[in-house]
Subunit: 420 residues, 2 copies
């Protein structure tokens, strides 16, 4: 398995018991020392302080705005369905049946949105989250960057068969040099890199230190995301197996920047974010060189993620314009290679694949999703004409820890909406 299944210590408080509003993090004039959530001591990444921090990243480190543009917000129509909270399902392990709202509590949800045929049928906020406050997306960010890259492929600025080293001479001697753009997009590169959040020596933490997401500590490697990925080596052969490595997305961000000549965050802003009719500016965590954290740094509100998801569900047509070509969405929906994906051994995602930085479930409904650690999801079900967004602050990083209740819940909502 790629994700180590972490163990939830028995004495960790529940979602209710760790409610950041009740705990009063950073409240007080000034806050008591027992209420501080700090960058320097990494307390922001420790549960339960993380439940506050996930809605307050900009208060902890430098960020770059992803501007919503000057136009009006795209207004959602509301058709709230009061019975969604009680929709029940059976977890993957066959355990006792659970309701949608029990699932949200069990997964430490901070916010949840269900769109059906573009209308809001369910919307709730918990903990430190609110309708207008951006929340960290973690790896959902990848699906935004993957969509941008797919647009550049469509335009011919990027070519999927070309090698990374042809665009980025800085990476010729790294493990990425002879990988194709397609391998980067679908994460089938073979790079020596550990993304196991449960292992304190995993590469992912040095990566975070290079980018300033974590304090430097005794890290002495190159500064910045780009500098860090250039240090990585190959391990095996590219193209043979899906191998989830966040660093691929940093390379993708670098490719986007190189072929456009712009900061990749501005490309995301100009081509997608400012065209969604978003209600709020988003923002992204940046390294000291101004590079956005492509693999995980986007912060946005629940409803704005919903706008992005709904734009994708509608084949890119949104807010009076074609934001993304329909062929790009179709390509994502068709998915990547399930055989290569299967080699990674994701037990909660049987038969799935990964395409253009999206997870493709290959289930009867044709669902695909953006996913981020600690429970972030944009789940798009074309058959049920449904988009679900869940933002969360689960104490455990890997979604594999709670897919067993999350994925059946999404299917149950899809069934409920399809056969009310």
């Amino acid at each position: 398995m790629s994700f180590a299944c972490e163990t939830l210590a028995q004495d960790l408080p529940s979602a209710k018991g760790s409610d950041p509003q009740i705990m009063g993090w950073m409240r007080g004039t000034p806050p008591d020392s027992s209420k501080l959530v700090l960058y320097n001591d990494l307390s922001f990444y420790r549960f339960p302080q993380s439940r506050w921090a996930f809605s307050h990243f900009r208060e902890l480190m430098p960020t770059k705005r992803v501007w919503r543009g000057a136009g009006p917000a795209f207004p959602f129509t509301y058709q709230l369905a009061s019975d969604i909270g009680a929709v029940s399902f059976t977890p993957m392990d066959g355990g006792p049946s659970m309701t949608w709202e029990e699932m949200l509590a069990a997964t430490y949800a901070d916010a949840a949105l269900v769109l059906h045929r573009g209308k809001v049928v369910y919307e709730r906020y918990f903990g430190a989250s609110s309708a207008h406050s951006p929340h960290i997306s973690f790896s959902m960010t990848k699906s935004y960057y993957g969509t941008v890259a797919a647009m550049l492929l469509e335009e011919g600025l990027l070519h999927e068969d070309k090698l990374v080293g042809e665009y980025l001479p800085e990476l010729v001697d790294s493990g990425f040099g002879d990988a194709t753009v397609r391998q980067i997009l679908d994460m089938t590169t073979a790079i020596e890199y550990s993304e196991d959040y449960a292992d304190p020596n995993a590469h992912v933490f040095d990566f975070a230190r290079a980018g300033g997401i974590f304090p430097k500590g005794d890290y002495t490697g190159p500064e910045g995301f780009y500098g860090y990925v250039a240090t990585l080596s190959k391990e095996g052969e590219h193209g043979e197996a899906f191998s989830y490595r966040s660093v691929n997305t940093e390379v993708l961000g670098w490719l986007i920047a190189r072929v456009t000549g712009e900061n990749a965050v501005e490309v995301l802003q100009d081509r997608i974010w400012s065209r969604l009719g978003a209600e709020e500016d988003a923002y992204i965590l940046i390294d000291s060189l101004g590079t956005g954290w492509a693999a995980g740094g986007l912060n946005a509100t629940l409803r704005d993620h919903g706008r992005f998801g709904e734009m994708i569900r509608r084949g890119g047509q949104w807010n009076g314009q074609l934001v993304v070509a329909g062929t790009i969405v179709q390509d994502i929906q068709r998915g990547g290679n399930p055989d290569k994906f299967a080699k990674a051994g994701y037990v909660t995602l049987p038969g799935a694949s990964y395409r253009n930085q999206w997870w493709v479930h290959h289930n009867p409904n044709g669902a695909f999703s953006a996913r981020g650690v600690h429970g972030q999801t944009i789940y798009i079900d074309p058959t049920a004409e449904m988009v679900i967004v869940r933002l969360a602050s689960h104490p455990l990083a890997a979604n594999a820890n709670y897919d067993d209740v999350s994925l059946p819940a999404y299917q149950a909502i899809a069934d409920f909406l399809s056969n009310p």
Copy 2:
């Protein structure tokens, strides 16, 4: 003199010669090392890099959003007067006559707005600034906080004759303990503190290190703005003379927080910013404890400062509501005590005073202003029914260095608009 008159080195490039867009700061994928503007090495505060940094503070350090609210932006009416750029005036020293636009270039203006009877008659952006990008306000922030504090006085939450120590036991033993709220508001406290930006050993730099505005370096004092002000001692008697000390405004922010029980940034957001019909979110630089830098940390766009200035000019009535009581604006316009002010020896501000964190010019037009180092101004002229906002990145901090051209230019525009 309170401000040391700094000397502009002869070889410093002009506004045009230091244009941050042309210099290409932080451009490149990634930027070349010669194009970096960094927090850690303080290059962001060095001219000419500062010309880029003043429009990009959030990319350098943690910030807190000051939300614009969910409502529509208050739309300005445009009645651009093409001849404003050529309006000429004689500098204070009697030197050769200069035009408005020559003054803007000479003062390294990043943006300039002139409102007449609420209509935009002049609007320009230079360098790294643009209509939708927030720019550092520096001490103009004080006038926002002073206005909020005046609202709390009006509501009876604060009392001008009460002592700081009665509200903030943490400051009883500091130099501020026996100062009144009024003395804090009008900066007539007597505190041992140097604000001379030309002196690298001035207290103001340790203050910046405590708050994280500057890197810590070898600073080992208390963390955060509040902790720092508690270390300061009295020097003389409170209430005798105007003595510009930014730390008064931090105490004011702390008073606002204490009597409302809220983070002072949220008080500013709820009572003023979110009621202006601002186009953009503002943001404020914060210390690691989440305290906004009351003396100088606000970042906002040119037009949004214009909305604030125009709201004040209209006696607080704005955007369909009474944002600030008219009596508060009248009290500011009446000003503080010019005799106490005169003791500070501001040669460019003869006859002026300071009230509720606003500069009151006591000129024939009854002008008053918010002012920040490096050339920030909101200049309100009630007689000419005019509001001017200038954002700038002058290499020298103290406005005293360029008041000689700025203040006559404002008067010339007032005369021009009054007698076109």
